[in-house]
């Protein structure tokens, strides 16, 4: 395994070139569900970051002990434990937020992003690389969530983080904070990202 990416490469790759949402289309369930406001989106991104970093480091420390056919079981066990911890901590210190996010916090367990990073990176490389990979990926995930949430909250309620930004005459596009708005916003942003990266790489449109 001579040409495994280094820690810095892993970190930088996660943010844009291999962005989990826009490039790999992973973890779409929370991406759509909790992006009706900036606050839940940021909380979700932080919870995912916590679980991803912890799970990646633990798996990476155990990587030499893993048996191929048992590795998924161990991944799931580790992830489920850290998700439970995150869920309890949120319920204890951010009770209202944990009520808003509801089932989407436990659903981090089946977020393909985390299991994918455990498989691709943590089960092959050391804890330091795994941690920086996790940080990069969760930063990328957080950016994606924030970008969608910003569009939806701004158009849907005329403000960000609950503060009014657009003039009061703005007719709130309620549809943006409802389920259909999530699909349409992500679809359009995805198209935009594709278009931009195709232009940058000089491809023809």
């Amino acid at each position: 395994m001579a040409d495994q990416p280094t820690a810095t490469e892993r970190f930088l790759q996660g943010i844009l070139p291999e962005n989990p949402v826009y490039r790999q289309l992973l973890g779409l369930c929370p991406t759509l569900a909790v992006t009706n406001g900036m606050k839940p989106a940021i909380t979700m991104a932080c919870s995912v970051a916590f679980v991803l970093v912890c799970a990646n480091v633990v798996i990476s420390l155990l990587r030499n002990l893993l048996k191929p056919h048992l590795r998924i079981v161990i991944f799931t066990l580790t992830i489920a434990t850290f998700v439970t911890i995150a869920d309890r901590v949120l319920a204890a210190y951010l009770y209202q937020m944990s009520k808003t996010l509801g089932p989407y916090i436990p659903l981090i367990i089946v977020n393909c992003l985390i299991i994918c990073r455990c498989e691709v990176c943590a089960s092959k490389q050391g804890p330091f690389v795994a941690a920086s990979d996790a940080l990069g990926q969760s930063l990328g995930f957080g950016l994606a969530l924030a970008s969608i949430a910003a569009v939806r909250e701004l158009l849907g309620t005329g403000g960000l983080f609950g503060y009014q930004l657009l003039p009061a005459a703005w007719p709130d596009w309620v549809i943006m904070v409802l389920p259909p708005g999530a699909f349409i916003t992500l679809g359009l942003l995805l198209g935009l990202v594709n278009w931009y990266s195709a232009r940058k790489s000089g491809g023809s449109i």
């Binding site: 289309l25 992973l26 779409l28 369930c29 759509l32 569900a33 998924i72 079981v73 799931t76 066990l77 489920a80 434990t81 998700v83 439970t84 869920d87 309890r88 089932p103 436990p106 659903l107 367990i109 089946v110 977020n111 393909c112 299991i115 549809i175 409802l178 389920p179 259909p180 708005g181 999530a182 699909f183 349409i184 992500l186 679809g187 359009l188 995805l190 198209g191 935009l192 594709n194 278009w195 195709a198 449109i205």
Partner: protein, 263 residues
């Protein structure tokens, strides 16, 4: 009769009104990934419905028997070590996520082996999707919904019984199938359309999904209206309260039975 109405409304709500994919956003990955052809989408839908029902049965049983405070099995075992009163307060719900994800992945493996051995034809049609299902959020979501309706209620009498839980799972799976089959039908036609280059693939699927979600939003509120229409003495009952009708729907003898099971 009232129990049947309750079941019917849970079913309707899970299948179309609060559709798993288009309202709760669970099961998006296969919704985007496997919805290229109608037959594949249908196979995936069937597999999910199958597994979701088994997982719902397991999670309901485990939640009521082991996890919630005062559950028979955990208080029985704890009864050997501590006093009876202390044993009845043991709350294992902190372990619920781990337990659910394990019951899901084990039931997926078990179903896969069973189907491959005894129903090779069936295995051919949807067996390939089975391993993918473990990480399908829809199944864990169904388990979590059941848990919140069993462990999260304030009064034990309001807790869901097995029938309601299975209905939610079965029709939630059906709702997933409906959504993914509609989507695949649209995508088959979409292949013939001139979609702008950057939107090809996932982006246009998401936009179409948004329009579908918009259509499904039209079902919101249908359940309370239907409840009003089909409940015996509808208008009068509605005047008292929706909640009361809901509670009153459990017929006396059934109610006794349910309580018997829960006790």
């Amino acid at each position: 009769m009232n129990y049947i109405i309750d079941i019917f409304l849970i079913a309707l709500s899970a299948a179309v009104i609060n559709n798993f994919v288009l309202y709760y956003f669970v099961g998006i990955c296969p919704f985007i990934g496997v919805s290229r052809r109608v037959d594949m989408a249908f196979g995936m839908g069937c597999a999910v419905t199958f597994v979701i029902s088994i997982a719902a049965f397991l999670s309901w049983t485990i939640t009521t028997m082991v996890l919630i405070p005062g559950a028979p099995l955990s208080s029985f075992i704890a009864g050997f070590f501590v006093s009876k009163e202390a044993a009845a307060t043991i709350d294992l719900t902190v372990l619920s996520y781990i337990v659910y994800i394990f019951s899901i992945s084990s039931s997926v493996q078990f179903v896969e082996m069973y189907v491959r051995k005894f129903f090779p034809a069936l295995y051919k049609s949807f067996g390939v999707f089975l391993p993918l299902i473990t990480t399908n959020c829809a199944i864990l979501f169904a388990c979590l919904t059941i848990m919140s309706n069993v462990a999260g209620v304030e009064n034990p009498a309001d807790a869901w019984d097995l029938g309601r839980s299975l209905t939610l799972a079965l029709f939630g799976g059906l709702g997933f199938t409906i959504a993914i089959v509609i989507m695949s039908g649209i995508r088959e036609d979409l292949d013939l359309c001139d979609v702008p280059e950057p939107f090809k693939g996932a982006a246009i699927t998401l936009v179409v999904g948004g329009i579908l979600a918009l259509a499904f939003m039209g079902f919101t509120g249908v359940d309370s209206g239907l409840r009003k229409a089909i409940t015996p003495g509808g208008e009068v009952a509605m005047e008292i309260s929706v909640e009361q009708v809901q509670t009153a729907m459990i017929e006396p003898n059934l109610h006794q039975q349910i309580r018997g099971i829960n006790d």
